[in-house]
Each structure stands twice: as C-alpha cells, then as structure tokens.
C-alpha cells in the first residue's frame, strides 16, 4: 500500500527541534520509518514521544527540522493536512463515539450518501463495507450494528485501528494500543498489528509495555530527554538494553 522513497523509507524526520518556552522538548531528532515495518517508539514519560507524534500529526509545528513522506518534503501545518497526506493516528483513549455503532464509527465524517442534497445515508452499504474492512484485518466482529460501548476494550481498539486503516494511509501511528486491556485482549490487538505488517502498512508503535514492543516491532527507537538515544533492530537487542537506554543512557 505504501510507496517507498529511494531510501526505502516512507517517512523521514530530520533534525526536529521543538521547545515550549524555555523547555526543550525535542533536540535534533531524526526518525525514519521503513516501508512495511513496525517501528517501536519507547521512552520514559516526558521523553518527547507525544511531542514528536503531535508534530507528525500536525497538532504542533516543529521549531526547525524537515519531514519527508515518500522522499518528498512536506509541511504538516494542521491535523487535516497530515491526514490528507496519509498519516493516520489511533489514539490511546480510543477516539470512537461510544454511542454510535461499529459501521457508523468506521464511516464517521465520510459517510456513504445516496444523494448530495439531503445527504441520506447508504446504511446497508456502509454495514457491508464495515464487515469487509474488519475482515481485512481478521477482526471477528460480525454485527456492524452493534454499539461500540457494548464491545470489549480489545474489540474497540480493533475498530479504531480498522477505521484508521480504512483510510488507506501511507502510515499509521498507534499510541499505546494495548494500554488498559486484559491480557487476552492484548494478544488480539497485537495480532492485528502483525496483520498491518502483512498488508504492508508501516506503523509507529508507541508503548510502555516492552513485551508488546518486542513481539511486533522490527526496530526500536528510544527517546530520552527529547533526544534520540538508540535505534536498534529488535532481533539484535533485549529488554535490559532498551530499559538501560530509556532510563540511564
């Protein structure tokens, strides 16, 4: 799905600086996301993970630095621009409308319409498409009319990821997708992340749970105090080393 630049990277962030008043949140951070990989982004609280991702999703503007998508420099001046360019984020606090059903959530903001004047919905078609979208990631939700607040936490996360994937993004950002989930549910969500990889959708996987990071990520990027302190192939590192980078250096 994602196109590659000459270097094989979908995304490149170079020399990203961001300060809030006198506080330096990011200092010259370089990040590359390769085609089809899942990149783990780890770090202690206030390491700069959220700031870096908010720059990527257009909520914050970097003080300096450049961002390339498919090798072309882009200016992410708003969340809308970022979305338009194919950067989708699944937020930690499940940005779904609990009072709507699965199909309504999946198509929220881009409903399929019968006609443009009164904007009547193609309800059945949206439900059919919802099942297709869910099945693409092997998510076992058979009832697109089921209200989201009646799904388990893991199922809700699955719907949120499916929604992001259905926009056919260039890349995904998964912000703590396994936080607050039961063990069984965590496994299911991680399986979905692995499905992303099979579909060639590159993703940045943010998590405090190193077990999860090691299970699904190809490489691990460690931030500390707003600086990149390590970038390791998952196969060539271990928990202790990553923890050391996160907290000691």
């Amino acid at each position: 799905m994602a196109e590659t630049s000459e270097q094989g990277c979908v995304l490149e962030m170079k020399g990203i600086h961001k300060s809030f008043g006198g506080v330096k949140a990011l200092e010259g951070v370089d990040l590359e996301l390769r085609c089809g990989e899942v990149l783990g982004l780890v770090g202690d609280n206030a390491a700069g993970k959220s700031t870096l991702m908010k720059i990527l999703t257009g909520f914050y503007h970097a003080d300096s630095g450049r961002i390339f998508l498919d090798g072309k420099q882009v200016y992410l001046d708003s969340p809308k621009t970022s979305k338009r360019l194919g950067i989708e984020m699944v937020y930690q606090n499940l940005e779904l409308c609990q009072n709507l059903n699965v199909a309504e959530n999946l198509f929220l903001g881009r409903e399929l319409l019968r006609e443009p004047v009164f904007r009547f919905l193609k309800g059945r078609q949206m439900e059919r498409r919802s099942i297709e979208i869910l099945h693409k990631l092997k998510i076992d939700i058979q009832e697109p009319r089921k209200r989201v607040d009646r799904l388990s936490g893991g199922q809700q996360q699955a719907v949120a990821i499916s929604k992001a994937v259905s926009f056919e993004p260039k890349m995904l950002i998964l912000d703590e997708p396994t936080a607050n989930l039961a063990l069984k549910e965590i496994g299911k969500v991680l399986d979905i992340v692995l499905q992303l990889k099979q579909h060639g959708i590159p993703a940045i996987f943010i998590s405090h749970r190193l077990d999860d990071v090691f299970r699904v990520c190809d490489r691990i990027f460690v931030l500390r105090g707003g600086r990149r302190v390590a970038l390791k192939n998952t196969a060539e590192t271990n928990h202790d080393e990553v923890v050391r980078y996160m907290f000691i250096g």
Binding site: P79, E95, L96, C97, N99, L100, L108, E111, R119, F120
Partner: protein, 332 residues
C-alpha cells in the same frame, strides 16, 4: 441489543408493552416512559370521568402541539449537548413582527416568510454565541431570550395584537378527520426530525458530536457547524410553533410562554434524552410532551390548585433530571 431489551422488558414486568417496544425497536428508556404515560392515563381516567372523552383528548393534544413542535427542535440541540431556553422568546418576537406586518397590509405569506426569517436570524445569533464563541448555552440563550423578549415588548408596546385569516383559522382550529390540523403539523415535524436524525449524515453527526466531540473532530467533522445548525433548528421550530400559537390565540402575545420557560426542556428530558448529549430518541420526546400534557390536563380536571400544579411540574423536572443523572448524564 435485543438481549438488553428483553431484560428491560422483564424489569418493567409489562410484557405486552415491552413486546410492542421491541417490535418498534424502542430502548429500555422509551419503554419506561411509555409505561409512565400509560399509568398516568389510567390514573386520570379513573379519577376523572372526562379525561378519556374524545373532545378532551383532542383539546389537550391540540393545546400541546405548540410545546411539541418546539420540543422536536430543542431535541436536536440537546442531543448535540447544547440547550436553548430562548424558544418562547423567539416565538414571541417572530409572531409579533409577523402580526404587525400583516396589520400594516403586508401579504400574509410574505409576513409568515419574514417571521420564519426572523427566527432563523435568532437561531444564527444563538448558534454563533454557543458554537463559535463557546458561551455556556444556558447563559447565552438566557441572555438572547431577554433580548428577543425585550424587542417583542418594544414593538408591540407590550400589548396583545390580534390577527385573523383563513390560514390562521385552519392551523389554529381546523380539523381533518376530526383531528386538529396542529396535531398533524406537530406529528409531521417529529417525523421530519426522526428521519433527519436516523437516516442522514447530519443526523449521525449530531449524535457523534453529542457523544464525543473530540472523536468527531478527529474524524473530520466540523463540530462547530453541527452545533450551530442544531441551535438554528431549535429556533426555526419556535417560529413554526408561533404560527400555530397565533392561529389558536388569534393574536401575538409578547408574554407568550413566560411562565413556561422550562416546559420544553422538561418535555425533552422526560423523553429520555441525556443532558450531556449523544443519547435519546425523538419518539421519547413525543412521549415526554404527552406526559406533560396529560399531567397538566389531568390536574385541571381534578381541580388541583395552580400552585400545586407548579409544584408538581417542578418535582417532575427534578425527577427527570435526577433519573438522567443516575443514567450517567449528570452534571460533570
């Protein structure tokens, strides 16, 4: 979903009504208030021999159509999580302008169109205040209510001004198959709101914004515009209700609805809406309107003193909000 309805039905212990509710795809809340309405009707039919008289039923449904039409519009604003207490003032101002124009010789159709236009302007002011300037909706519409009411007093010199004509007679006291025209209009508006909220993109967005404005924004919805149009919708129904008011009373009255500031809100809340937004069905609001109408009519038939009627209405508002709070829609 059906399981939860089964449980709700068992809890109600009213199999027939619950079964009807399931067939109609009603939620537990709707079934509950439907049962409440039936209990009230049974009570008043036992205590007053006149309650079930066809003439009485048609009269009180006709009288409640003004409240009902405004409740249908307010429902849209309240599902979004907003509120509008200026509707009666919009009714007073728009009808005052209309009647004055007619009395000065303007064509009735044109005057009615201008009245609707005035209500839209009021709605735009409310919408801008609440959706764009993000002023608390109660305070914003309380303030605009005073402004609209003040203008209504000013241009009518605080007097009722009569008007007549075949159109107003038809919508005020006309009947089709014995049922007042105003009741048909009220039901028609409820149907339009139901279709809009259930089958259009705007309707889904209304529920989405009421349920989770952040998620709606991230999904690319223009949250401000959804809120804005909700407030406009609320004002527009006030003008439609105003036409029926003029038809029934035969005049514009600048004090119209002054004593019933919270009646419309009460009807909507009784109908099972969540004050925090995102939940509720417009059919519930229709039942809420009927509960208020039955309650008022029943108390009049039983010659309950007006002071006590006010107390009962206050208790009903309290209970409705309390139940909403128990369901998780309370003040945060």
């Amino acid at each position: 979903m059906n399981d939860s309805k089964d449980i709700a039905a068992q809890k109600q212990g009213a199999g027939g009504i619950a079964l009807f509710g399931r067939k109609m795809n009603f939620s537990g809340e709707i079934i509950s208030i439907l049962i409440a309405l039936i209990i009230l009707c049974v009570f008043f039919s036992i205590t007053s021999p006149y309650f079930l008289a066809i003439k009485n039923i048609l009269n009180f449904t006709m009288n409640t159509s003004i409240l009902g039409i405004m409740a249908a519009g307010l429902f849209v604003a309240m599902v979004i999580g907003e509120i509008d207490v200026s509707q009666y003032a919009v009714l007073a101002l728009s009808t005052a302008i209309m009647v004055i124009l007619i009395r000065r010789g303007m064509n009735q159709g044109a005057a009615i169109a201008i009245a609707l236009g005035v209500s839209l302007v009021c709605g735009v002011i409310n919408g801008v205040s609440v959706a764009l300037l993000r002023i608390n909706p109660i305070i914003a519409t309380l303030a605009t209510m005073m402004v609209y009411r003040g203008f209504a007093f000013k241009i009518t010199a605080a007097r009722a001004m009569g008007v007549s004509g075949p159109f107003f007679s038809a919508i005020g006291s006309g009947r089709i198959l014995g049922v007042p025209v105003s009741v048909y209009i009220m039901l028609g508006i409820f149907l339009v709101v139901h279709i809009m909220l259930s089958y259009t993109a705007y309707g889904k967005r209304v529920y989405a914004v009421g349920g989770n404005p952040e998620a709606s924004y991230i999904s690319g919805i223009n949250v401000k515009m959804v809120r804005f149009w909700g407030l406009v919708c609320s004002s527009a129904t006030a003008a439609l209700a105003g036409l029926i008011f003029v038809g029934q009373v035969g005049a514009t009255v600048p004090t119209a609805g002054e004593g019933g500031l919270m009646d419309v809100v009460t009807a909507v809340v009784l109908g099972g809406i969540s004050l925090s937004g995102g939940k509720g069905k417009v059919v519930g609001t229709l039942i809420g309107v009927l509960i208020l109408a039955v309650l008022s009519n029943g108390m009049v038939l039983l010659s309950v003193q007006s002071y006590y009627q006010t107390i009962v209405k206050g208790i009903v508002i309290f209970l409705a909000v309390f139940v909403d709070s128990l369901r998780g829609g309370g003040y945060k």
